[in-house]
Symmetry: C2
Subunit: 425 residues, 2 copies
């Protein structure tokens, strides 16, 4: 990989998500060589991917070049690499661009979409974990609007204007709300030859309520907001099959749809080569101790979504959201410096800052430690927190301008079908 | 195509470029049914494509949804369609989404890249006429930077850092200047493990000077600017071959390069079905009279780049740039209303507003009727004119902000390899 050899201990971080960059920043300009590896040359701000899918934001304004993050760090290197295996015996990472030895390895590979073994759904549904996937959804939505204008039958048009989202977590709720805004504001204005009323948005959730990890208050409010926007919310419904045309659930619900978005769950994306029992079953997360050390290893760590640290409050690991990843990355950065210098390590304790989700303009829900609130103020808080969490001043300004523009004009302007999406059949 | 039948005369416009949208705007809310067809759902502001290729701007900020342009026009329709043929006997347009009859047909299909029949160059070079092509170039440049950091041999690294642009017109000059800015400002900062000095940019032009359609003063200044930025300018050199590795010219010049961008010429992109002698040989442009009527037809018109209107000052047709297209579209809109109302038509006269090109920050050349100037003020004029010519308030603000940001920070931030480009071999 052409990384210079030095006397410094080498830390290899796999993955430039929230956890990986949080840790890389802690190790900046220390007497440690840091090598950050990622399959992409950019960090993705996943919480706003749904706005890329729904034409509200350009991908460039929610992603950030990884090289820009570490460019001022001495002894830090970035490589665009797909890690294929870790040789834990010899402390070597193997990848598509060659091998690299490490002194310490940090696995921050995050999660991938969980289809629960359903091959038909995996083939025909649209996932939304990455920028290209979000752009595929954007293209498909806009292509289906265009196709609906020239549909030959009512049934065909109906299927093209039926949008089905599976998974009532924050991603599904936010996506359903944003598609509803397309229906309410964009279609009537820009597609005068389409009947906006014929457009339907269905949100399907297996639990009894949407946003199951949040408070009952938040769930209730979010469902009210969704219904106000015209979204059909189906709780206690599990999707059994989708063949590219028909959505079949375990209840009476059956829907014809050309746009089927799968946001029903994630599963860890581990690397090959570690011993099998280091992984938790089902969730595919590495069992880590309070110092994020992977079970059975002393120099291999896992961070964020891919790590399951069992604590009293979180016996199955922390929630797979940005905050635990950022906090763990920060602490492991500090701990690693201590480890190298022979100082004691500090165990991790998660500081839950609360959770939030937005449904649409002036509509969000926020659960804080003591307060739970919903509506305009919650929406304002949501915007502020997300804006401040974006990486880079330029991205913040552009997102802020786009949001202001969208708010004033009821518009979503990034509506280009740049690379038409072709469905696999 | 599902366009409602009405008593109004129907004008079908093929192509949503400068000419097509200029005409569509003239026909807004008149007693004329307008159907705008395009292969893409957006208008592309081609003069700034090179900034998309070089990570300065996002594609969404130089393109604009065609539906948004005509959304307030009663009797206007947009269809995403690829026109395959025109049946001039029966006045019918045939496309991938069905057929449509017309009363008047306007061909505004523009040009495509001209490879002068060289298949090897067509296969291996990167054209830059469309947004996806510009994004391909952006990906390739960034991928080659990444590959150069891990190259195994000096020869391989050299080829990866050798950027060859063919064609010294405005596109080639602007692109070469922008890549030179990547070399001068981005590579040294964000690729500390690359030797920026090893990066070379070559601009190859067949004529004796760059910017051949502009004044000698402009050519001289542009060449000076390019050289100051470190671009190797090769005039009087014609590329004979490129096999994906080696650029061969008619002179001694031979270059190893992994990035070969073809901006050496365009050729008309006519539609099938019109009689062969309506087209000019070589340039593939429709011969039109002063009313933009295609030779041999009374109800078929051609506009902009695809039209060759022979006048005293322009015996082979007007320059293939935005202004003639915009002016012709504007006049034909007016003339068509007159034609339908039985009023006399006005012949077209081109009002040359001058021409300009930019090489980099503070470096541009402007040829006006009486004045020719270069440098900072020219660069300022260039920016102002391009900013004001963009479609849409949002795009103008975002481009303005990006330019200010890039200027202050010497940065180009849209550096995501979203869809890696795979070379055809």
């Amino acid at each position: 990989m052409n990384i210079p050899e030095s006397n410094l201990p080498r830390v290899v971080i796999i993955g430039g998500g929230f956890a990986g960059i949080s840790m890389a920043k802690q190790l900046a300009n220390k007497k440690i060589q840091v090598v950050l590896l990622d399959k992409h040359n950019y960090h993705t701000f996943q919480p706003l991917l749904y706005q890329v899918s729904t034409a509200g934001l350009e991908p460039d304004s929610i992603a950030y070049p990884l090289r820009k993050i570490i460019k001022k760090h001495r002894h830090s290197f970035f490589r665009l690499a797909d890690v294929t295996r870790v040789d834990t015996e010899n402390n070597i990472v193997e990848s598509n661009i060659g091998t690299l030895s490490y002194d310490y390895l940090v696995i921050a590979t995050g999660t991938k979409t969980n289809y629960f073994g359903n091959k038909a759904i995996e083939t025909h549904s649209m996932p939304m974990k990455k920028v290209p996937q979000a752009l595929n959804i954007r293209s498909l939505i806009l292509q289906n609007f265009e196709r609906a204008t020239i549909a030959n039958s009512e049934a065909e048009r109906k299927a093209l204007l039926n949008f089905v989202i599976v998974g009532g977590g924050p991603t599904g709720v936010e996506l359903a709300g944003a598609i509803a805004e397309l229906k309410n504001h964009i279609v009537p204005r820009d597609y005068p030859d389409l009947d906006a009323d014929a457009m339907q948005i269905h949100l399907i959730e297996g639990n009894a309520r949407v946003l199951p990890p949040m408070s009952e208050h938040a769930s209730k409010k979010a469902e009210q907001f969704l219904k106000k926007l015209g979204v059909h919310v189906h709780c206690n419904a599990i999707v059994k099959d989708y063949d590219g045309k028909t959505v079949i659930t375990n209840s009476d619900l059956q829907l014809q749809s050309e746009t089927f978005i799968w946001a029903a769950g994630v599963i860890g994306a581990p690397v090959n080569g570690l011993q099998a029992n280091a992984l938790m079953e089902r969730s595919n997360r590495y069992k880590v101790n309070r110092f994020n050390q992977v079970e059975g290893y002393t120099n291999i760590f896992a961070l964020g979504d891919i790590a399951a640290m069992a604590t009293e409050s979180y016996p199955f690991g922390h929630p797979q959201v940005a905050q635990p990843a950022i906090q763990q990355g920060y602490l492991l950065g500090k701990n690693l410096k201590n480890l190298i210098n022979g100082k004691p390590l500090k165990p991790f304790t998660y500081r839950d800052k609360g959770s939030m989700a937005t449904v649409g303009r002036n509509k969000a829900v926020v659960d804080l430690h003591r307060f739970k609130f919903a509506g305009f103020f919650a929406w304002f808080v949501w915007m502020f927190v997300h804006l401040m969490s974006l990486v880079g001043f330029r991205n913040r300004v552009i997102v802020f301008f786009n949001w202001s523009y969208n708010y004033i004009n009821f518009d979503k302007a990034a509506r280009l079908i740049i690379r038409p999406f072709k469905k696999e059949v």
